[in-house]
Subunit: 160 residues, 2 copies
Amino acid sequence: MVEPVKKPTRKTDGFVANDTTLRTFVGYHMKRAFNVVQADLAKTLKPFELRMLTYTALVLIVDNPGLSQSQLADAMDVERPNLVVIVDELEQRELIVRQRVPTDRRAYALRVTLKGQHLFQQATDAVTAHEKALLGDIDTGAQDTMIATLIHIQSGGAKG
Amino acid sequence: MVEPVKKPTRKTDGFVANDTTLRTFVGYHMKRAFNVVQADLAKTLKPFELRMLTYTALVLIVDNPGLSQSQLADAMDVERPNLVVIVDELEQRELIVRQRVPTDRRAYALRVTLKGQHLFQQATDAVTAHEKALLGDIDTGAQDTMIATLIHIQSGGAKG
DNA sequence: TATTGTTATACTCTATAACTATA
DNA sequence: TATAGTTATAGAGTATAACAATA
């Protein structure tokens, strides 16, 4: 059975903030919801010794074999210098390999190993189950609308 | 006129990641969307010398005059030690005051000053306008559904 | 010249333990 | 004994500049 993350025990009384202004403050709700999802995700990935960043990188390499570190950084919205340590970690654990590209010897082509493929499958099964449990009692249509809207925001923020 | 954040210039080719696995990975979409909103927010708040954390604290103190630091930390989902520096900053800028509570001399009651009230109003006008611009071309019903779902996730993650 | 990957570095946000003063 | 606020500290995540190798 999958069990959702439980909120840490707060010793404060049952204070509920007045949300007059917060009501329309989208960033606030996004941050709080992301905190919950991120905490659940961290707990789910811990047995596999993966963090959100390393898991996301692994997913992208599995689904896009041969992509470069620049492309991966772009897809992950992470600066290239910060991606180096992530790729280092996955490589040291022999989950992926860096292959020199013959046609452009500056770049690396990233690919999963068999070991990486197996870990990816196990971790993805766990993540899928946990997210399902986390969103379980939310209307499917609302879930789809939320995801579509989140994706829309990403492109919307770009076209400035 | 309000102008949305523009994506930093990426020199990578038009690589678009295959989203086979990512499609159902809610945390991924939440993080990317939050990145966009957070970047827009940071830019919006910069003229007021506020960050998301200090702005959120200011909002909560305005809407909940007299609340304690513990209650504020709870409402903001921030550990109490981390809140101290946030309250320090607002107090040093004379946007809020710490008032000793006569009935419980351990606690502080937090209240905005007139200066804080003015800055809150200006910042909130700017944030509201920017978020409106950011979500402008998204269907109003979808926006409401997303926010409701984000709020639902917060309580859903707690009931474990 | 420009780009890939890299190093170094700094800054923000977050998390925990332990202290003080009050209750 | 427990709580409010605090200090110190360590860990993530993020952002920028500058470098070597290659294009």
